[in-house]
C-alpha cells in the first residue's frame, strides 16, 4: 500500500532580487496514514517550507507532492483552495483565530465552505469543541481565552471538517509548559484515538517526543530520521 503523503524529489528556492536562495534540496519523504510525523531543525532549515508544501499553501520549484493520490503540487490556486478545505486542518503557532468571532464562529469557519445546513454545522462545531474540551467556552471570544484554550479552539477548527491530514507549525511555541503539554496530549489523542495523520514542525524536543517519527532537516536537506 502506498503512503498517504509522498514527497518526491522536492526542491524549493526563493528569489531575493537577483539572488536565488535554495531552501529545500531534493527532498523525498513518505508519510503513512495515521502517522504522527515531527519535523525538526534549526531556524532556516526549511521545515516550515516543507510543511507548507505538504499542506498545499506553497508550491515547489521542482519535484512533486502527492496526497492521497492527488498531485497537489500541480494544482491551480482554486483547485488547491478546494483541496485544502476538504483535506487539511491547520494549527498555527499564534493560533490565528479571528478576533471578532467567538469559539463557535471560529470553529464553524471551514464549514461555511460546505453545503451543510446550519443545524448540521452546529452539531459538528459542538462535537469538535467537545473533543478539545471547550464545550463550556463556546460563546467566548479569543481575547477571553488563555493561550492554551485558544490553541484548542484552533485545533477544533482544524478537525471540524474531519480532514485527511493535520498540519501543525510550532503548535506549542507560544505556550507555557503546562498548556503545551495539554496541546501535545490532545494531538496525541487525535492521532491515536481518531487516527489523524499529523505533520508537526517543532523546535521543542519535548514536543517532538509526541511524534512517532521525527525527521531532522538542516540547510534544506533531510539529515536524520528517528523512529520513536
Amino acid at each position: 500500500m502506498s503512503a498517504l503523503i509522498q514527497v518526491k524529489n522536492l526542491s524549493k528556492s526563493y528569489w531575493r532580487e537577483k539572488f536565488e536562495i535554495p531552501v529545500l534540496n531534493n527532498i523525498s519523504l513518505n508519510i503513512d496514514a495515521g502517522e504522527f510525523l515531527g519535523l525538526m531543525g534549526p531556524s532556516g532549515s526549511g521545515k516550515t517550507t516543507l510543511l507548507n508544501m505538504i499542506a498545499g499553501i506553497d508550491k515547489p520549484s521542482d519535484g512533486e507532492v502527492v496526497v492521497d493520490g492527488n498531485v497537489i503540487s500541480g494544482m491551480s490556486e482554486s483547485q488547491l483552495a478546494a483541496w485544502r478545505a476538504n483535506n487539511v486542518g491547520f494549527v498555527f503557532q499564534f493560533y490565528n483565530l479571528i478576533p471578532v468571532l467567538n469559539a463557535f464562529g471560529n470553529v464553524e469557519l471551514p464549514l461555511l465552505l460546505t453545503k451543510l445546513s446550519k443545524a448540521e454545522r452546529q452539531q459538528q462545531v459542538e462535537t469538535a469543541l467537545r473533543i478539545v474540551g471547550l464545550s463550556d467556552r463556546i460563546d467566548h471570544y479569543p481575547k477571553q481565552l488563555s493561550g492554551g484554550q485558544q490553541q484548542r479552539v484552533a485545533i477544533a477548527r482544524a478537525i471540524v471538517t474531519d480532514p485527511v491530514i493535520l498540519v501543525a507549525d510550532e503548535p506549542t511555541g507560544d505556550l507555557d509548559k503546562a498548556s503545551a503539554e495539554e496541546i501535545l496530549a490532545l494531538m496525541e489523542r487525535l492521532n491515536k484515538e481518531f487516527e489523524k495523520t499529523i505533520v508537526m514542525v517543532t523546535h521543542d524536543p519535548r514536543a517532538a517526543e509526541s511524534a512517532s517519527i521525527v525527521h531532522h532537516l538542516d540547510k534544506g536537506d533531510l539529515v536524520k530520521e528517528v523512529v520513536q
Partner: protein
C-alpha cells in the same frame, strides 16, 4: 448569506472608526443632497417653463420696457394664440427679508397663458372685476397667512408710493414644480398710477408672454416678432420661456456651477475617507486573510467579505445621510423666506444620485483592499507583522 455574520462583525471591529466613517459619509451625503437641492431649486424655473410660451423682451435687457402698443402687432403674427404681458414691481412687504416676486400682469389673459396657476372660476372672476385685487400662490399664502379679502400693503421702490391690494384669489399649483410663491395684480392698476404720477412711464410693459399654437414653430415666430420691431426705438428679443429663464439664471451660473462641482468633490473626498478606512482594515487583516485562504476560502469569498463590508458601511452612512437630508431640506424649506426659491424640495433625482454615489463609493473603496488581499500569498500573509 453565510458570510453576512462575518461582514457585520468586521464592521463592528473598530466601533469608533466605523462610527466616524459612517458619520463622515452621512455628512457628505447630507451636504451633497442639500447643495444639489439648492441647484435644482434654482433651476426649477427652467424646468417648469412651458414649450408653447415665448417671452418677448427689450433686446438690450429685460429691465428696459417695451411699448404697450406692441401687443396688437404681436397678436397678428400667424401662430400666436394669446398675448399677455407683465411688469416687475419689486417693492417691499414689511421688510426686505420678506421677499417674493410681485408683478403687474394683464388680468384678462395672464391665467389663460399660465394655466399651471389654477384659480376657481369665482376667484378668477373676482380678480378680474376689482382693479386693486391681487392673486397669491398657495405657498405664499401659507407662509404669510394671506387670506381672501384681506389687504396686502407694499412699499414701492421701482414704482414709488404705498400700494394696497386686496387678495381675491389664491392659486393652486398644477405641478409640484410650479412656482407657488408669486403675487400678481392688475397691470392696469399700476399703469393708471403711472399715468397720473409719472406720465413718461405710462404704457410701459416689462415683457410680453406669447402663447403659440405649435411649439415646433417657436423659432420662426420668435424671428417674425423680432423682425416686426427691428427698426423701432425698442427692438425686441424673443425666445422660448426656457431660454428666457436660462438667460435670467446665467448671471448666477458661476456660483451654481461651483456648487455643482463642490457637491461632486464632496463625494470624491468621502470616497478617499472610506477608501482609507478600508485600506487600513485590509492591512490590519493581512494575516487573517491568509488564514481564510489557507482554510480554503477563495478570492471570490474574500471579495464578498471586503466588498460587503465596504458597501454596507457606505450604505449605512448613505441612508443616515439621506435621512438627515430629508430633515435638513424640510428645515430649509420651512426657514427660507418663500420666494427665494420658487420650489425647494428634495428631487427624486437627488435621492437617486445620492444612492448611486454611495454605491460607487462603497465599490471603489473596496477595490484596492481586495486587490491587496487577493495578491498577497498565504505564506507572505502569515509572515506579515501589522
Amino acid at each position: 448569506m453565510k458570510l453576512l455574520n462575518l461582514i457585520f462583525r468586521n464592521i463592528l471591529r473598530h466601533k469608533l472608526r466605523t462610527f466616524l466613517t459612517i458619520l463622515g459619509i452621512a455628512i457628505a451625503v447630507l451636504a451633497f443632497g442639500v447643495l444639489r437641492t439648492v441647484v435644482t431649486a434654482w433651476h426649477s424655473g427652467v424646468d417648469a417653463a412651458a414649450a408653447d410660451r415665448l417671452i418677448t423682451r427689450h433686446a438690450v435687457s429685460f429691465i428696459f420696457p417695451l411699448d404697450y402698443a406692441y401687443k396688437d402687432q404681436i397678436a397678428r403674427i400667424p401662430g400666436v394664440e394669446t398675448v399677455s404681458w407683465a411688469n416687475w414691481f419689486g417693492g417691499v412687504y414689511i421688510d426686505k427679508q420678506k421677499f417674493f416676486a410681485r408683478m403687474g400682469v394683464d388680468a384678462e389673459t395672464y391665467f389663460d397663458v399660465y394655466d399651471e396657476f389654477q384659480l376657481t372660476p369665482e376667484e378668477l372672476k373676482n380678480f378680474k372685476q376689482q382693479r386693486n385685487s391681487c392673486v397669491v400662490g398657495q405657498d405664499l399664502a401659507d407662509t404669510y397667512g394671506f387670506k381672501i379679502g384681506e389687504p396686502i400693503v407694499l412699499e414701492g421702490d421701482i414704482y414709488p408710493g404705498q400700494w394696497e391690494f386686496i387678495v381675491r384669489g389664491i392659486y393652486q399649483k398644477k405641478n409640484k414644480s410650479t412656482d407657488g410663491t408669486l403675487m400678481v395684480f392688475h397691470w392696469d392698476y399700476l399703469n393708471e398710477n403711472m399715468a397720473q404720477n409719472s406720465p413718461n412711464r405710462a404704457s410701459d410693459v416689462g415683457w410680453y408672454i406669447v402663447k403659440i399654437d405649435d411649439p415646433s414653430k417657436a423659432g420662426d415666430i420668435s424671428e417674425r416678432i423680432d423682425q416686426q420691431f427691428s427698426n423701432s426705438s425698442a427692438s425686441t428679443k424673443t425666445e422660448t420661456e426656457v431660454a428666457f429663464n436660462q438667460g435670467f439664471l446665467a448671471g448666477f451660473s458661476a456660483m451654481f456651477t461651483a456648487m455643482d462641482v463642490m457637491s461632486f468633490l464632496i463625494v470624491g473626498i468621502i470616497m478617499l475617507v472610506l477608501g482609507n478606512t478600508m485600506i487600513m482594515a485590509a492591512r490590519e487583516r493581512t494575516r487573517e486573510y491568509a488564514v481564510f485562504k489557507a482554510l480554503g476560502f477563495t478570492g471570490s469569498h474574500l471579495t464578498k467579505i471586503i466588498m460587503g463590508e465596504s458597501l454596507l458601511t457606505s450604505l449605512i452612512g448613505g441612508l443616515l445621510g439621506l435621512g438627515l437630508m430629508v430633515l435638513a431640506v424640510g428645515a430649509f424649506e420651512a426657514t427660507l423666506p418663500k420666494g427665494w426659491f420658487p420650489v425647494f424640495q428634495l428631487e427624486p433625482s437627488t435621492i437617486i444620485l445620492s444612492i448611486l454615489a454611495v454605491i460607487i463609493i462603497g465599490v471603489a473603496a473596496a477595490i484596492f483592499p481586495i486587490q491587496r488581499a487577493l495578491s498577497t500569498r498565504i505564506t507572505e500573509g502569515f509572515r506579515f507583522v501589522g
